[in-house]
């Protein structure tokens, strides 16, 4: 990656820039350490609703005026809440960047949460929650998540639940905004046709006079997690059964275990030459979509393998997925297999940093979750060093338990699965 420059402003804002003159574009990401993880369970969905409402009114602009300002110059500006971060994303042609950054600053510093807009977006969020049920994959994932993360924010969709979203008020959003939206909790990351000094000047002008409160940020206490595998079944009238197996995995802070499970996840489920794809799709024709994921998380993450298959295949599919996971911890992988997975993981990692938006996102995110921009290199170095023995040890540590199993499909098919 191109050189990253990093500056901390006097009010605590961290600024990261990558100068990239290849195109006449600037992409910026403004990250706050906020999101689903910071929500009390009874207020689930607050971050999402805040993200939607931020662009719907400030002390001087209403919703239509904000939209007009952005769309009239053909820029993009949007806010997004995730479990582990909150981000506002901007993209403009170079000449328009200052104007949109001004607007973003106003939105972040003084949102007004107009009551009519609040009601509209609350209603629409409830509808979105409802529509999650349209897709069997979403149903299966929600079922798995709530089993693996009881009483934990990771157990709930970022949208919240019907019960919690109904209870939310504009006052909740004000309070949440007051608590977490402060300059010493902000990382501004940008990539594009601008140098570090120009960027610092623009950010100083728009956000430099935002004072950091003297009181510290609240500390967060989440319940500890332990594995109590269970099987959940949800009957649905669907053409396919969805089968998901989940294992609790390490957070990003257990650096070696994390990198090793990323590597194993790649070996198992990433791409057309992955183990699941070859064994269960190519050789046995059981699925179109068969894959694995292990998201990077601040809290213990989940290592998930899944597939969609014809209802009659349900038991075979569960056995097939379990077997493939088992092979990871029963015996070490061959050196060549591991090397091939490393090539794939690191190659795709590099390909994920092509656009200005991708570069701004990944660097800002590393800074936000406190692993630092060095993590970009460290992660790649750690992956290179992993040995077959180490991979097997890590697989034994996290994947040799029974999995959480989530099944969605026709009732008859689910009965077949003992």
């Amino acid at each position: 990656m191109q050189t990253v420059q990093r500056t901390t402003l006097s009010n605590g804002i961290t600024v990261l820039t990558v100068e990239n003159r290849a195109t006449d574009i600037i992409a910026a990401r403004l990250f706050f350490r906020a999101g689903g993880r910071w929500e009390p369970l009874e207020k689930s969905g607050m971050s999402h609703l805040l993200a939607v409402l931020l662009t719907k009114g400030t002390h001087t602009l209403n919703s239509a005026e904000i939209a007009e300002k952005v769309e009239s110059i053909g820029a993009s500006l949007g806010a997004d809440a995730s479990t582990d971060y909150f981000v506002m994303s901007l993209k403009t042609v170079t000449a328009d960047f200052g104007e949109i950054l001004d607007l973003a600053a106003e939105i972040l510093r003084s949102p007004s949460f107009p009551p009519n807009e609040f009601e509209l977006e609350q209603h629409l969020t409830l509808q979105s929650i409802h529509s999650q049920k349209e897709r069997p994959f979403n149903l299966a994932f929600q079922q798995l998540r709530s089993a693996m993360y009881p009483n934990h924010p990771y157990g709930v969709s970022i949208l919240g639940t019907e019960e919690t979203v109904t209870q939310l008020t504009p006052a909740d959003l004000h309070q949440y905004h007051q608590t977490y939206f402060r300059p010493d909790n902000l990382v501004v990351s940008l990539s594009g046709c601008i140098d570090h000094e120009q960027a610092i000047n623009l950010i100083e002008q728009t956000l430099g006079d935002w004072p950091a409160p003297s009181h510290p940020l609240p500390t967060l206490e989440l319940p500890p997690l332990s594995s109590h595998p269970q099987t959940d079944k949800l009957p649905q009238e669907s053409q396919q059964s969805i089968i998901m197996l989940g294992y609790l995995g390490p957070s990003v802070y257990k650096r070696e275990d994390y990198a090793t499970l990323k590597l194993l996840n790649t070996y198992l489920g990433n791409g057309l030459s992955s183990r699941l794809f070859v064994e269960l799709r190519e050789k046995r024709g059981l699925a179109y979509d068969v894959s694995a994921f292990y998201p990077t998380r601040l809290e213990p993450s989940q290592f998930v393998v899944y597939m969609g298959t014809a209802p009659d295949n349900t038991p075979v599919a569960i056995a097939g997925l379990e077997q493939e996971v088992k092979l990871l911890w029963e015996a070490p992988l061959a050196e060549e297999e591991l090397q091939s997975a490393k090539n794939k993981l690191l190659g795709q990692y590099a390909l994920g940093k092509q656009t200005n938006a991708e570069i701004a996102q990944i660097l800002g995110w590393y800074e936000t979750i406190s692993v630092g921009i060095e993590f970009d290199d460290d992660f790649q170095a750690v992956v290179q060093q992993i040995t077959p023995q180490q991979a097997q040890n890590v697989a034994q540590r996290y994947l040799s338990t029974d999995p959480y199993i989530s099944l969605v499909g026709p009732a008859q098919a689910l009965e077949l699965a003992s």
């Binding site: 290849a22 195109t23 006449d24 574009i25 919703s63 239509a64 939209a67 007009e68 769309e71 009239s72 110059i73 053909g74 820029a75 993009s76 993209k91 403009t92 042609v93 509209l120 209603h123 629409l124 509808q127 979105s128 409802h130 529509s131 999650q132 349209e134 897709r135 069997p136 649905q236 009238e237 669907s238 053409q239 396919q240 791409g271 057309l272 030459s273 070859v278 799709r281 190519e282 050789k283 046995r284 024709g285 059981l286 699925a287 179109y288 979509d289 969609g308 298959t309 014809a310 091939s340 090539n343 794939k344 690191l346 190659g347 795709q348 590099a350 390909l351 092509q354 656009t355 200005n356």
Partner: protein, 427 residues
């Protein structure tokens, strides 16, 4: 390099940033060197989409796309995938009505090693019987998973309603029954008919120099299979919508109703009109200050969301408006949309709205031509349906559009009395 003829650039005002070559075989090669990137994309486009299928060979083009990855006589199933991914690259493919395309993204240094495999599986697909039967199960799973996706079902139904038995009304995947009727022999025939040089465009964009790129393509894409001839595809006349054509779908688990309206647009031969429709779709329902989003989502709060899309196709483009809403509001929303279409036809658009939309579309174009794979896709697509040079004329065409052009094109294509509509309801 004497076998190469550098094509004279056509008379477009915007210089085309890539170079186009035609090899002696008739194969088109498009190359653009981007020195700053280590990434190279090779994107191979074939005029062998569902529109090329013989009348009864439903699902063939897409099924063949799957079978390409099963390799040739010298490259076994999965070998190509392994070679690409083992060198840190990615590969995938897609099939639509007008094309099938296959691409690899890789570090340029690996191309001499990987490109021979890519060319081999594309040009010499073996389509073994046993692999065909195995892969058929995968295609059937793909069909099943689409049938669990209400938006896919709705779009499929709308296309059938609007295009009728015209080729764009076909399901690209085919149904389970249709896919089961395909045979390996038919597929080999389809491959050997269409995967021929004059139907193919190889696009290379990224960190590779012209001479190297051309010699790699010449070396590897020289030897095509002996031609076959598929049964003919019957030429059907383009559908004309005479009234409101309505279809209703009832589905389990549907969270809320959908209203999907569609109109036929011009083909790529009328690119300026197509650009007007692209612009109209943005004015109508793209972004919070667009007309329908502002009125129906923000003000009247009759829809959960509403969006308009324009898709350029070779012979007849498609413009759609989709609303997610409560069942009880369906009629009212459809009536309002009809009124707004009438308005756009009869009342001049303001200069401010015109300028705003132009800026938005031109910036969108800049934002979507940032990476080698985006650029390769753009050139390959345009070359497959028309000519690659046209792809870069888009911003200029948009800039030239006047308010009365939009009115005229809206009157011609976006009739409030003649359109297709699919309504989706819960059980």
């Amino acid at each position: 390099m004497q076998q190469l003829t550098r094509l004279v650039q056509q008379h477009t005002a915007i210089p085309f940033p890539a170079h186009i070559f035609r090899l002696e075989s008739g194969l088109t090669v498009i190359h653009q060197h981007i020195p700053a990137t280590p990434v190279t994309v090779v994107d191979v486009w074939v005029r062998a989409g569902a529109a090329a299928e013989p009348d009864d060979w439903y699902g063939m083009a897409h099924f063949l796309e799957h079978m390409i990855f099963k390799g040739s006589k010298t490259v076994g199933p999965g070998v190509f995938d392994w070679v690409i991914e083992n060198s840190g690259g990615m590969t995938n493919a897609a099939t639509s009505h007008d094309y099938a395309h296959f691409f690899i993204t890789t570090a340029a240094e690996y191309l001499p090693e990987t490109l021979p495999y890519f060319a081999e599986i594309l040009l010499h697909a073996q389509i073994p019987d046993d692999e065909f039967i195995r892969e058929r199960e995968v295609v059937l799973e793909e069909i099943r998973s689409c049938q669990d996706d209400p938006d896919w079902l709705g779009f499929q139904s709308l296309c059938e309603t609007i295009y009728g038995d015209y080729t764009y009304g076909r399901s690209i995947l085919g149904t389970e029954e249709q896919v089961r009727m395909r045979s390996p022999n038919q597929m080999r025939c389809f491959h050997r008919t269409h995967y021929q040089p004059e139907n193919m465009t190889v696009v290379l964009v990224g960190g590779i120099e012209q001479e190297k790129a051309l010699s790699l393509v010449s070396e590897n894409f020289g030897n095509f299979e002996i031609r076959s001839e598929c049964p003919p595809t019957r030429q059907k006349s383009k559908p004309i919508l005479q009234k409101i054509q309505r279809t209703e779908l009832r589905l389990p688990r549907l969270g809320h109703a959908r209203l999907m309206m569609g109109w036929l647009g011009p083909g790529v031969a009328q690119l300026s009109e197509a650009c007007c429709l692209d612009m109209l779709s943005v004015i109508l329902a793209s972004g919070r200050s667009s007309r329908l989003v502002r009125e129906l989502r923000e003000e009247k709060q009759l829809v959960l969301d509403i969006a308009s899309e324009f898709s350029l196709q070779r012979d007849a483009s498609l413009i759609t408006i989709t609303a997610w809403l409560e069942e009880g509001d369906l009629e009212q929303v459809e009536a309002i949309i009809r009124d707004r279409l009438q308005e756009i036809i009869s009342e001049p658009i303001t200069e401010a709205e015109l300028q705003r939309t132009k800026r938005l579309l031109c910036n969108d174009y800049a934002f979507s031509t940032e990476t080698p794979s985006q650029m390769a896709g753009l050139y390959g697509y345009y070359n497959t349906i028309s000519a690659a040079e046209l792809s870069v004329s888009y911003p200029q065409r948009i800039q030239q559009i006047q308010g009365f052009d939009l009115q005229r094109v809206a009157a011609k294509y976006l009739s409030p009395e003649k359109y297709a509509v699919t309504v989706m309801l819960g059980l």
